[in-house]
């Protein structure tokens, strides 16, 4: 019994160790295996540029190439299998992602086949009349003989229209008094509207008599207040920037940025340049300058000055590598620096206040 338990524990332990080992291997490989890049450019008879990014050799490889007056070509491969490409072949990724479209296409084909089968049962004339296809069952359009039938459909409710089946000719006196009443109301309403209009104009006239400067003064005062607020914010930022801790943080960050840039820059490069101006004297002067600065004498760069013709040709190759561990280390240095943290918190308060 005990031996079985121990055996189970042993197996579980070994499995856990394997899983841990694999996880550790993956983490370390991500941290320490560098991402390598290569760039090459050529500006001669053919003008082209190429870029290659790889990680772990065959694990991930991306290549892009561009030639003048031609399309951009690219491929992305994982473990040698093409995932993305500019060429016309279908990649595995496209196959996997295109399943929805294929399913939709299948469904449409089925509906079309059903439609085709139904179409063969009826004549073309009947199928052409789309209106019948859209109307509900049992519907028949009403045919009106005259406009009076049409008017019966819409009752306005005016007193001289028929009410409850009575015609307007039955009560001519009532019709007259109602008309007079309505006209009287209309005239009253018109008078009131005129009075309101006159009052509004009077108020407008009073308003316009106020100084023209008022809106301008208001705008100027608002502008002054905004500028004063801005200057307050600027003073607060300035005070924060000139504190000792902030200065330390600024120096440290600049140092880290410089290190990062130096790290990302290529480790090796090689180039060739053949140039010449139409004026050989200018070519000579520029070549002298390049020699004096040491650029033309560098073993990595071969510069040829052409005195007999105006020409510009060149090629360059650049290689570099980047490890993720570098950035992780930077992040840890920044995160565990107490002074930087204090500056960050204070900066948040200052900016929050702004």
């Amino acid at each position: 019994m005990l031996s079985i338990i121990l055996l189970c524990l042993k197996v579980i332990g070994i499995l856990l160790l394997i899983i841990l080992g694999v996880a550790l291997f993956l983490i370390l490989s991500v941290l320490f295996v560098p991402v390598r890049y290569r760039l090459a450019g050529c500006f001669e008879e053919t003008k082209k540029a190429e870029a290659l990014v790889s990680w772990g050799g065959i694990v991930f490889r991306a290549r892009a190439a561009y030639e003048y007056e031609k399309d951009l070509r690219y491929t992305v491969r994982i473990f040698g299998v093409t995932i993305l490409t500019s060429e016309e072949k279908i990649t595995i990724l496209q196959r996997i992602l295109g399943w929805k479209e294929r399913r939709e296409e299948k469904r449409r084909r089925k509906i079309y086949e059903k439609y085709q089968r139904n179409l063969s049962k009826f004549s073309e004339e009947e199928w052409d009349n789309d209106a019948w296809a859209n109307l509900p069952e049992g519907y028949e359009p009403k045919e009106w003989s005259s406009w009076e039938d049409h008017m019966d459909e819409y009752r306005t409710g005016y007193p001289w229209d028929t009410v409850d089946g009575e015609s307007q000719e039955d009560f001519p006196e009532e019709k007259e008094s109602v008309k007079e009443r309505v006209q009287g109301l209309l005239e009253n309403w018109k008078e009131k509207r005129q009075e309101k209009r006159e009052q509004k104009e009077w108020e407008k006239a009073i308003e316009s008599e106020k100084t023209v400067e008022e809106p301008q003064e208001k705008w100027y005062n608002n502008l002054e207040e905004k500028m004063e607020d801005l200057s307050d914010k600027y003073e607060r930022l300035e005070r924060f920037y000139y504190e000792n801790q902030s200065q330390y943080a600024v120096r440290k960050m600049f140092g880290l940025i410089k290190k990062t840039i130096c790290y990302i820059l290529p480790t090796s490069w090689r180039g060739r340049l053949r140039y010449g101006f139409s004026d050989p004297a200018l070519t000579g002067q520029s070549y002298g300058l390049l020699c004096a600065t040491g650029v033309a004498l560098s073993p990595r760069c071969r510069i040829e000055a052409e005195f007999e013709e105006a020409v510009l040709e060149g090629r360059i190759k650049v290689r570099g590598r980047i490890r993720v561990f570098f950035f992780v280390r930077m992040a840890v240095l920044i995160f565990f620096d107490r002074r930087l943290k204090a500056v960050y918190r204070k900066g948040k308060d200052v900016l929050g206040g702004i």
Partner: protein
Amino acid sequence: MEFAEKLYIGLSLTKKKERVIERMEQGKMVFSVYCVAEASHPDNLYDIYSYYELKQPYYKDHPVKVLGIAGSKEEAIGLVAHMITDKNQGGY
């Protein structure tokens, strides 16, 4: 910066005098304000300073007593005239 008990204020600043005085006391920026202060030399009557000048660090250690504030230099000159007449009439 010190303010006199009886502070003369120009017409253009009457509407916002509280805000201006509060900001000046706190040392914050105020735009287009001129201060009439006590004379720095016995031969002078009053001194007119732009507020920007009084914001300089020198005046933190050598504060000036402000007797009046105005919105422009011309207004400050007018304020000085008003203060002199007031003084002659025994008002200040």
